[in-house]
């Protein structure tokens, strides 16, 4: 029994029928996401483009045996992770995704440097801003217009640990739902949120280093 959503079932039928238009639609929808996620693992952009290419070839080759137990999107990204993994193994840097997730979620983390908050032993007064994080020097609407603000975000995401970066790319760049991300990465909703929180916090901090005081 297939649990495919109707749109996926229809798309799969068209793909199996060799309809190029259907395949082109998928490529246009997912190619940048594949490359972006691959870059988290293989680092260099040329290798990432190769991994994306291998992923599509693997996807085409598996069309006839795809059983519809997950969405096409999840299927495509599972192929990507396998391809990225074997590329990484060739470079002798073998870290399973589940290990990344447990390492990255269990490491200690503070969204804001704890010394920015009051501590005096009076529970009611503790944990408040010692001095407020300053407003960003540039108007938000202007920041949104700036190409280098977007580039700064791109770099900050590039520097995130792999699992955090992957979750943030899929959620916040590609606009996936948390459920889609959990399925494709085979992680729990709680871990998904922890990774996302750490990732977003780090990217906000990168912007704060530029537009504020680095809080």
């Amino acid at each position: 029994m297939s649990a495919l959503a109707p749109e996926d079932a229809e798309l799969l039928g068209r793909l199996r029928g060799g309809e190029e238009e259907a395949f082109a639609t998928l490529v246009d929808r997912y190619q940048t996401a594949l490359i972006r996620v691959a870059t988290k693992y293989v680092r260099d952009p040329v290798a990432a483009a190769d991994v994306a290419q291998e992923t599509w070839i693997g996807f085409i080759d598996s069309l006839d045996r795809f059983e519809g137990r997950c969405s096409l999107q999840t299927w495509l990204f599972r192929i990507l992770f396998n391809k990225a993994q074997s590329r990484v193994q060739r470079d002798r840097r073998i870290v399973p995704f589940s290990t990344l997730v447990s390492d990255e979620t269990s490491a200690s983390f503070s969204a804001v440097d704890p010394t920015r908050f009051t501590t005096g032993g009076d529970a009611a007064a503790d944990g408040h801003w010692l001095s407020a994080p300053p407003s960003w020097k540039t108007d938000p609407s202007e920041i949104l217009e700036q190409k280098d603000a977007v580039e700064l975000v791109e770099r900050a995401i590039g520097e995130l640990p792999e699992a955090q970066g992957t979750v943030m790319i899929l959620r916040d760049v590609e606009g996936w739902s948390s459920e889609e991300v959990c399925n494709a990465l085979e992680i729990t909703p709680t871990n998904q949120r922890v990774l996302l929180h750490r990732a977003r916090t780090r990217v906000r901090r990168a912007l704060s280093e530029r537009y504020g005081d680095g809080t």
Partner: protein
């Protein structure tokens, strides 16, 4: 279960921003979060900065696809169909 009516601290709030934006807080924590933000300008600012961060991140999505790579993929698909 006893509901905590304790005030949320700023330090606690910055760790709950994502859960708040994601709608993952319990009703009572959401209330504590919102009442804190409404009375604490620095935390309100922090929340706004986080939302701005997300909007900027969303702008990355507009990258163009390399047309040559796209052509190669479509050719691979045609080969598979005829192969």
């Amino acid at each position: 279960m006893t509901e905590t009516q304790d005030e949320m601290s700023c330090k606690e709030l910055v760790e709950l921003v994502t859960d708040y934006v994601e709608g993952a807080l319990s009703a009572s924590d959401r209330d504590r979060f919102e009442s804190h933000v409404s009375e604490c300008p620095p935390c309100e600012e922090y929340l706004e900065q986080m939302k701005l961060t997300l909007r900027l991140t969303g702008e990355l999505a507009e990258d163009a696809i390399d047309p040559m790579a796209r052509d190669r993929l479509l050719a691979a698909f045609r080969d598979w169909k005829t192969g």
